[in-house]
């Protein structure tokens, strides 16, 4: 007779062999893959940096040609920002967050796997362009007009535009996953005031990604359309504006710095209290500072554009906000110092050492940050090596040091082995000294006027000694990384076995084995404080009464199902069971189908459409339930004490769709901001030769879609009341009305006397209309699939909230149709 643990292990195991490896959906497998893959990209980015440092070590060197140097610095920035830091930290979150909150897996395991495959394919494709010599070469920020079709007609920029857009899909997927998991799956008792700071930082960061990435996706889509379809968003000669790119890019780009920084701060906030043997000082203030940094980071983007000729008053608003972010950052530093000061540090461990290094370097990077937040100072050092020094102090000091701290801290949990402390110290000192030798001289080089992104310089400038010093420092850093890699290899081979909780830490991930079993926890833990493992009671002990007898049932399942408890958002009161899916290869096939679309767009736009078309069946195959409705009902009726199967309050379906709506709102917002930005740059709108839009027919089309939404609302209400008849009739009627709306859109644009490539106005209205049409098309497709599933009896029991969730998407599309009408049709008459 199998024990409970053996049964759980069998249920949560992934299938054997390569097929099983490709089908894995478990959060630890996906998290590990993210971490390992991103570290490989880190090595690639580091080699790119070393090549640049060799080229700059002396004046007039020819190690790299000018073109190769451009490709190297572009790929270095792109790799480190998009392929290493963000995916690494998301991967760490994917691995650790479920363990820290006492869950067995994440809310959407298959989506998780899909995100990883997208990330992998996009990263490999970007580096493939490097291998074949056509890597992007205009900087990681890709400013037009340099990157427009006029100045960069080659395929290099196409790689950046398509693969970065694709890559953002992965980042958004992971963010959705993290938010839904933290919202719905916290262990009983883990109310808002008991969430570990790492989880807070991951949650807030995920929200930042959801708000920051869509504008980048829109911007890169606009640039792609300019390059491939001949639109004019950034072509000043046709009414476009290159500054629009800068606004959209930096609206993503500046928060992106904090998207990298906040999880790093979360890592440090986990390590310091463990080393200091006391709870973190100022927990609530730290949460406040995480939230404040997240918001403020969205109000700083213009400080990257201080030299772009914007009105002074506008720049001053952003200078003020840039300086204000020092307040929450300072709170964090003070909290850590107080924790160390008032704690009992018995041993300087390697994670603690890296955390200390981080505090010092982060302060230094912050100080130069305040300097460049001042408009006049920024004008003096803009585009010099001073800025390179500043952001490397922030990004290496503020992010890479905590990343290493986190790797040393959680390596025992990942691998079941301890890393060598001695070699860890060697790694730290080599990296710390190497870092400062590399980047401190760059402050001085910046003051001496050495510009960024130059591939060589003349001896007469006198920049050689400091450049040589920086290059020596870079090799010291590389040596440090090599020591780390050898340490990892040696520890995996011969390292000391790690106990469950080698650091005597306080959070739930240390309550399970190292490495954890497939199901994380056999008995779902109960949390009664912020430091559950430092409490007198064992959080993973069995039930304490009938109210939580379901925990015993979940630890000893009588059915072959993957289940984990779901709880309320604010107080983490368990209110239903979540049924998680088994492994499948369909996320991989869907990612590959989508890849063909994104890579195909570089060949011909029609290939993009074909790729999109083959993605649909892959998606349907992924989502289509394999079990019969009768088997589903049987599973939901547990013979043991169990939580309800149907969510009484908030379902994962609804949370997922709500986050999708948020992402789409941000994307639509970015498009509409683009429209109004272009409109503000001219006196005549629409431009001469283009008539003002017809008001009547689009108004009728919008009313038809609103009618469809009303029909869907009635259908939803009836369905929620237990009457499926109205749903079966009204949902197709609503789809028909949405199709009519699509038809109206198509007819309107078939009849206009201009095309998307006529001028910037035409590009904007065609793109907005096209984007809105895609929404309507998606609406019809989603509703059709749900309608079919309902007809076959699958939308019942635990899947009933699906109808509520798709209704939310209907509301969004209706709302965006009103926005589009007000912007494209009404505003030319009013503004």
């Amino acid at each position: 007779v199998a024990t409970a643990e053996e049964r759980l292990s069998r249920i949560w195991a992934r299938p054997p062999g390569l097929g099983g490896w490709l089908a894995a959906v478990n959060h630890r497998a996906i998290g590990t893959r993210y971490v390992v893959t991103s570290l490989i990209f880190f090595l690639a980015g580091g080699i790119e940096a070393l090549a640049m440092r060799v080229q700059l070590a002396q004046a007039d060197l020819n190690v790299l040609s000018a073109e190769a140097y451009n490709q190297f610095f572009t790929m270095h920035g792109t790799t480190m920002m998009f392929l290493f830091v963000v995916p690494f930290l998301e991967g760490l979150g994917i691995y650790l967050v479920p363990l820290m909150i006492g869950a067995r897996d994440m809310a959407f395991p298959r989506l998780n796997a899909f995100g990883y495959w997208v990330y992998l394919v996009a990263g490999v494709a970007l580096h493939w362009s490097f291998i074949v010599g056509v890597a992007p070469h205009s900087g990681w920020f890709n400013y037009p007009p340099l990157t427009g079709p006029g100045f960069s007609p080659e395929i290099n920029i196409d790689y950046w535009v398509t693969m970065i857009t694709f890559l953002e899909v992965a980042a958004l997927v992971a963010a959705v996953e993290l938010i839904a998991t933290v919202f719905l799956q916290r262990a009983p008792g883990m109310a808002l005031h008991r969430i570990p700071l790492f989880v807070w930082s991951q949650l807030v960061t995920a929200f930042m990604i959801v708000h920051a990435m869509p504008p980048l996706v829109v911007a890169s889509m606009m640039l792609g359309l300019d390059r491939i379809m001949g639109t004019h968003f950034f072509n000043a000669a046709a009414g476009g504006d290159p500054l629009l790119w800068q606004h959209l890019f930096w609206f993503f780009g500046h928060p992106d710095v904090y998207i990298m920084l906040l999880p790093a701060l979360g890592i440090v906030s986990m390590i310091i209290p463990v080393t200091a043997r006391r709870p973190i000082a100022g927990y609530k203030l730290l949460v406040i500072s995480i939230v404040a940094i997240a918001f403020l980071s969205f109000g700083l983007w213009v400080h990257h554009m201080f030299a772009a000729g914007l009105p002074l008053m506008g720049m001053n608003f952003f200078a003020a906000a840039s300086m204000m972010i020092t307040i929450p950052s300072g709170i964090q530093i003070i909290a850590w110092i107080v924790t160390i000061w008032t704690g009992k540090v018995r041993r300087i461990t390697v994670p603690f050492l890296f955390a200390l290094g981080f505090i010092i370097l982060f302060i230094l990077g912050g100080i130069t940050g305040i300097m460049v937040a001042s408009v006049p100072f920024d004008w003096q050092v803009h585009d010099t090596f001073f800025v390179v020094a500043h952001f490397h102090y922030v990004l290496i000091g503020g992010v890479i040091f905590p990343i290493f701290a986190g790797l040393y801290f959680w390596f025992p949990k990942f691998s079941g082995r301890m890393l060598s402390e001695r070699w860890g110290h060697v790694h730290f000192w080599l990296f710390l000294v190497g870092f400062n030798v590399t980047f401190f001289p760059m402050h001085i080089l910046g003051f001496q006027g050495m510009p960024r992104r130059i591939y060589t310089y003349l001896p007469v400038h006198g920049w050689e000694p400091l450049n040589l010093l920086a290059t020596i420092g870079a090799f010291l850093m590389a040596l440090g990384v090599l020591v780390f890699l050898l340490n990892v290899y040696g520890s995996l081979m011969w390292g000391r076995k790690a106990p469950s909780n080698p650091w005597d830490a306080d959070t739930l991930e240390w309550a399970t084995e190292s490495p954890p079993p497939n199901y994380n926890f056999s008995t779902i833990p109960v949390v009664t404080s912020l430091n559950p493992l430092w409490d007198a009671s064992d959080p993973t002990a069995g039930s304490r009464g009938p109210a939580d007898a379901w925990r015993d049932s979940m630890a000893n399942p009588d059915q072959e199902i993957r289940e984990t408890p779901a709880s309320t958002v604010l107080d983490a009161t368990p209110d239903h069971r979540m049924f998680l899916p088994f492994p499948t290869v369909w996320p991989l096939w869907t990612a590959l189908a989508l890849t063909s679309a994104f890579i195909g767009v570089m060949i011909d736009p029609i290939v993009f459409v074909l790729g999109g078309v083959i993605t649909v069946p892959a998606l349907v195959a992924w989502l289509w339930p394999r079990s019969t409705p009768e088997a589903d009902r049987r599973i939901e009726r547990s013979s043991q004490p169990a939580l309800p199967a149907v969510p009484p309050y908030l379902s994962s379906y609804w949370v997922g769709v709500a986050l999708l709506v948020l992402i789409e709102l941000m994307a639509m917002g970015a498009l509409l901001v683009g429209y109004f930005y272009l409109r503000a740059g001219t006196d005549e709108w629409p431009p001469p030769g283009i008539p003002r839009p017809d008001l009547l027919v689009p108004a009728l089309g919008t009313l038809v879609l609103l009618g469809g939404t009303l029909a869907m609302r009635i259908a939803r209400n009836a369905f929620n009341d237990g009457r499926v008849g109205p749903f079966r009739v009204l949902a197709p009627a609503a789809m028909l009305l949405a199709l009519l709306y699509l038809g109206q859109n198509a007819a309107t644009y078939a009849g206009v006397p201009y095309s998307w490539d006529t001028n910037a106005y035409a590009s904007a209205v065609w793109t907005i209309a096209g984007y809105q049409s895609l929404h309507a098309l998606a609406l019809v497709a989603i509703t059709a699939v749900v309608w079919l599933l309902e007809r076959r009896g699958h939308i019942a029991g635990r899947r009933r909230p699906v109808v509520e969730a798709i209704s939310l998407y209907w509301y969004f599309v209706a709302f965006s149709s009103l926005l589009v009408y007000a912007t494209v049709y009404l505003s030319p008459y009013m503004l």
């Binding site: 406040i288 000729g309 914007l310 009105p311 002074l312 008053m313 001053n316 608003f317 906000a321």
Partner: protein, 144 residues
């Protein structure tokens, strides 16, 4: 006194407002202030900017009031875990409200002392407060 003992009724939406109201008010402040610099320049008056500052300040101040209210008169007869969570949310709301109220006013300083029509390279020649700007200056201030 009796009212204080009864505690403030538990309304989670009010606590969510307390936590997010201040940051959102600041976000609205900056989002509106920045594009309206051109309008202030064209109209020759910064009143539109000041109106936004005052209205968003009221929203942020409201979060401080709500946070303070819940801290001083927490809901009665709720489980301990809920009581502690409410206390945490009200504290966070109050401090965030104060912080973002401060940021709103720091950001508003340029609109009190600066010239909305000034571009880089130009120098403010005289105190401008109350001075009207010609439309030509406004058009020149638009992005190229």
């Amino acid at each position: 006194m009796a009212r204080a003992n009864a505690g403030t009724p538990l309304r989670d939406w009010l606590l969510v407002y307390a936590v997010l109201g201040g940051p959102v008010a600041w976000a609205v402040h900056l989002t509106l202030l920045y594009p309206l610099v051109h309008v202030a320049c064209a109209w020759g008056s910064e009143m539109v900017l000041h109106a936004i500052t005052i209205s968003t300040s009221l929203v942020a101040a409201g979060t401080v009031a709500v946070g303070l209210r819940y801290l001083r008169h927490p809901p009665a007869e709720v489980p301990e875990v809920v009581g502690r969570r409410v206390r945490t949310m009200s504290y966070i709301g109050m401090v965030l409200g104060l912080l973002f109220l401060f940021v709103i006013w720091i950001e508003a300083i340029p609109s009190f002392i600066g010239d909305p029509c000034l571009l880089p390279g130009q120098i403010m020649e005289e105190p401008h407060i109350g001075r009207a700007y010609p439309l030509e200056t406004a058009l020149a201030a638009r992005p190229a």
